[in-house]
Symmetry: C2
Subunit: 127 residues, 2 copies
DNA sequence: CCGCATCCGATTGGATACTG
DNA sequence: CAGTATCCAATCGGATGCGG
């Protein structure tokens, strides 16, 4: 009779097998979501794009202390992950517009929930 | 007449001034929430504690490839942030129990939303 | 206008060993 | 049992300068 840890999963919290990992795993839904919103500045960029399509330059103006390096990295990652898309207009000077895809719009409820939870966490709880 | 960027905030997305920052800010609710759930292994530790109080050792058994260093760092941070609490039982060998505080329980809806959104993001969307 | 290349300091997390 | 201490490789993000 061994000491085995019997897991008794809360199916509301962890509805599918994909979330039952005992180590970080890219296929875990929670990781997948955090991969998109994680990293400094990322949620600010997403917030801007949730208000509508923007050019690279306008994004830079809205987030003035964000460096080109990080901005282009964030946009590249969001594009890779399929939540944003890049559209280059013909002509000069180059005009590039970033907009959220349908997948990107799907981030809205999560952003709202992050805001709501964060507000609770910041509140000077009556302990 | 200058080119000024007039922001027109979506009040559902950004209901209060706290979220209207143009740079990373600890007082932003979204940052506050990500500060709690951010970092490798963190959501796994929270997931375990959402199922009930656990000793340091049992946490280690549930997440076998998580090193002591990172585990104790995560627990210290969660404790600092007020979402978990540490209870040391008298006697030997030392027995320490970690449990979520009320603030920690407040993370449940966020964890569920992360799971839901992540599931959507992982789905092989019909583009 | 839209980036990428480079450099560089700071932070992160894994491995290992050791203590009360 | 419950950690801390140390070391180290890898990643991250800020600053700056250049190119299409």
């Amino acid at each position: 009779m061994t000491h085995q840890m019997v897991r008794d999963w809360d199916r509301t919290l962890v509805p599918t097998d994909a979330g039952r990992t005992d180590a970080p795993d890219p296929a875990c839904p929670v990781e997948a979501a955090l991969r998109v919103v994680g990293g400094r500045w990322t949620t600010l960029v997403i917030r801007e794009l949730l208000h509508g399509p923007l050019s690279y330059r306008d994004l830079g103006r809205l987030l003035p202390s964000l460096s080109d390096k990080v901005l282009s990295e964030r946009l590249a990652r969001l594009t890779d992950l399929g939540v944003a898309e890049r559209m280059e207009a013909v002509g000069f000077p180059t005009r590039v517009t970033y907009r959220l895809t349908a997948r990107g719009e799907a981030l809205r409820p999560l952003m709202t929930e992050l805001y709501r939870t964060g507000t609770e966490l910041l509140a000077p709880e009556a302990n």
